[in-house]
């Protein structure tokens, strides 16, 4: 009996980690700047590719993963400084711009790196509960998701940067008047969002086939989580991932992966009908 319950919890944790990790970067960029970054999937791909290339050059996996996160973050900052910052007063145009960038990157990678790349295998190790065997790496993913959330909490609630970032998010004019360098805040927030996307790619790289279009695997879940969660990462993305995780896990168990994905989408359309501002909007309204 315990084994069955553990198995269900394990599957839920797996889905939860997937949703949180794939959505966190998107949610930060959306929450800070109101931009839905359609090149999000490409940042994930970037993190995964750098990780695998690092491992192939002899780096240990965690170091290669850190390198992947760093690279994605740096590319994010560069992109923000060159293109995105021109479009802050036109949020819809910035979405189109990121979509254009996404097309260029994916197809450019197909041209330069070929249609697939040899991956690195999932780190071995498993443990047994009852008669079921579970992969340890999946637990690592869950732990990483929880740690990423804690890190975001500390960064935004306990540091000087966090205060300035939240001030910029609430009212950029006043923040600027009080001496916050808002362009720098925007650039670093975009970088952090991109780095989190890179983290997602880096963590899932050992479990997947590496193809330039691998970002697609994540973006539907990422968008859906952000739409349900609303613009606040901490009180939006986490509860959204929990609710969607429950829906997804039960549908997966009942009818399989694809029904799980479609059921999640239907759930989103229903949720959005009732809570147009997402869960964080709803929670904030209840508080005030």
């Amino acid at each position: 009996m315990f084994a069955e319950i553990f198995s269900i919890v394990f599957q839920f944790a797996d889905v939860f980690a997937f949703l949180v990790l794939s959505a966190a970067g998107l949610a930060i960029i959306f929450g800070m700047m109101g931009i839905i970054n359609l090149a999000h999937g490409e940042f994930i791909t970037c993190g995964a590719y750098v990780t695998v290339i690092g491992v192939q050059h002899g780096l240990p996996l965690p170091l290669a993963q850190a390198l992947g996160v760093l690279t994605a973050g740096l590319i994010g900052v560069v992109l923000e400084r060159t293109i995105i910052h021109r479009l802050y007063n036109r949020p819809l145009d910035s979405i189109l711009a990121t979509w254009g960038i996404s097309l260029i990157i994916t197809q450019g990678m197909l041209v330069t790196m070929g249609s697939s790349m040899t991956g690195v295998g999932t780190p071995e190790g498993s443990f047994q509960v009852g008669e079921y065997t579970f992969s340890t790496y999946r637990l690592v993913l869950f732990a990483a998701a929880v740690m990423a959330m804690i890190a975001i909490y500390v960064l935004f609630m306990r540091t000087r940067y966090g205060v300035q970032a939240r001030a910029t998010m609430q009212n950029p004019q006043v923040a600027r008047a009080l001496g916050v360098r808002t362009p720098r805040i925007y650039a670093s927030s975009f970088g952090i969002g991109a780095a989190l996307a890179g983290l997602c790619g880096a963590l899932y790289a050992p479990t997947m086939t590496l193809i330039p279009t691998m970002g697609i695997t994540f973006i539907v879940e990422a968008f859906v989580t952000v739409v349900v969660g609303g613009s606040n990462v901490l009180i939006g993305t986490v509860p959204a991932a929990m609710v969607l995780g429950v829906i997804r896990t039960s549908l997966n168990a009942w009818q399989g992966q694809i029904i799980g994905q479609i059921g999640m989408l239907i759930a989103v359309i229903l949720v959005i009908r009732v809570l147009p501002e997402g869960m964080s909007g709803w929670l904030l309204r209840r508080k005030s």
Partner: protein
């Protein structure tokens, strides 16, 4: 009659003057006589380009006029295409049955758009969220159809066939006295051109009429429009359903043209294409969308012959460049330039006459 024709012109379209309509008539005649001397392959190709324009016109209506941003028009394209395939395979092609399949498939796309649109528009989901949900919808559709390769995925006689794509549906056929006319090559060309003419003129009537004026009022300021007493949601839903039905029509024509459709037509990068065409052309004008979409499709195909990846890189760059340097769209800018030149020349002519 003349009053009806006047209704084609108005503030919501760029080309209104006598010069525009003279040019329009001239181009229409060119389009009609073009197959007489052109290579049959090129004629078929032009028909193929024209097939996509319906989807672009629908997006222009929704996005450019009503301000609803949908990233997932390919969902309705695919629904129309698969709908046509399934119905045509099941009921066959005798008599006018393929035309009934066409109508049913477009209706199917419209009903789905109505359902999805109801939940979002009546839930006051606007802007970015609308784009994201439609985007996720088309990707989920693609993913769903991708895994329907097994023999258990069958609707009546029609196998969905997963990522291999569904084939074997009939061409569109128009019943005629001595047997049906199958719409391919030249016949398809004239059919699509006629349909495009009807849709284009119909959209002009619509956007220059009361409906279009209200749509533009909503786009400019939804709150103001609502305070003036218009039910904003009703108008937006109508625009969304109409635009999506046009995407469905594109899907039907595409499937009937190639007798084939795959889930890739709903996934990425396909979903980005209508956005690129309409943004590049200028979403706020149907004429600009029509001309621009045709031009960009022609360019895209020319490059695709060498490399599909390079063609898609070009599409991405076009989108980026449009957003950065010409947000209203190239064709709309060109139209405005022509109008300014024209105005400048007429005032000069008047001045010198004095």
């Amino acid at each position: 009659m003349l009053g009806k024709l006047k209704a084609l012109n108005g503030p919501q379209t760029i080309g209104n003057g006598r010069a525009f309509w003279a040019g329009f008539a001239f181009i229409l005649i060119l389009v009609l006589v073009y197959p007489m001397w052109a290579d049959p392959y090129d004629v078929g190709n032009s028909a193929y380009f024209a097939i996509w324009i319906f989807m672009a016109l629908g997006l222009s209506l929704m996005w450019g006029y009503a301000g609803i941003m949908s990233f997932g028009q390919t969902a309705f394209f695919g629904l129309g295409g698969y709908g046509y395939g399934v119905i045509a395979i099941n009921i066959g092609a005798t008599g006018g049955l393929t035309l009934i399949a066409l109508a049913c498939a477009v209706f199917l796309a419209a009903v789905f758009a109505g359902t999805l649109g109801y939940f979002m528009i009546y839930g006051r989901v606007g802007g970015v969220y609308f784009g994201i949900v439609t985007f996720a919808t088309t990707l989920a559709f693609a993913a769903f159809l991708h895994q329907t390769a097994g023999p258990e995925w069958v609707i009546g006689k029609a196998r969905l066939n997963g990522f291999n794509g569904m084939g074997g549906m009939s061409l569109l056929a128009i019943p005629w006295f001595d047997g049906p006319i199958y719409l391919e090559d030249m016949a398809l060309y004239y059919f699509v051109v006629l349909l495009l003419l009807v849709v284009y003129l119909g959209l002009r009537l619509l956007v220059n009429g009361r409906f279009g004026n209200v749509l533009v009022a909503i786009r400019e300021d939804p709150l103001r429009a609502e305070l003036l007493g218009y039910d904003v949601r009703k108008y937006q839903l109508a625009a969304f359903v109409l635009g999506s039905a046009l995407a469905g029509l594109s899907g039907v024509l595409y499937t009937a043209w190639g007798q084939f459709i795959t889930p890739a037509s709903m996934g990425l990068p396909a979903a980005a294409m209508p956005i690129v065409w309409v943004a590049f052309s200028g979403r706020s004008d149907v004429t600009a969308t029509l001309v621009g979409t045709f031009a960009i499709l022609l360019a895209f195909q020319t490059i695709t012959i060498y490399s599909q990846q390079y063609a898609l890189i070009l599409m991405g760059s076009v989108l980026l460049a449009t957003v950065l340097f010409m947000p209203t769209g190239l064709m709309v800018e060109a139209g405005r330039l022509i109008r300014r030149l024209h105005g400048w020349m007429t005032t000069r002519a008047k001045g010198s006459a004095r």
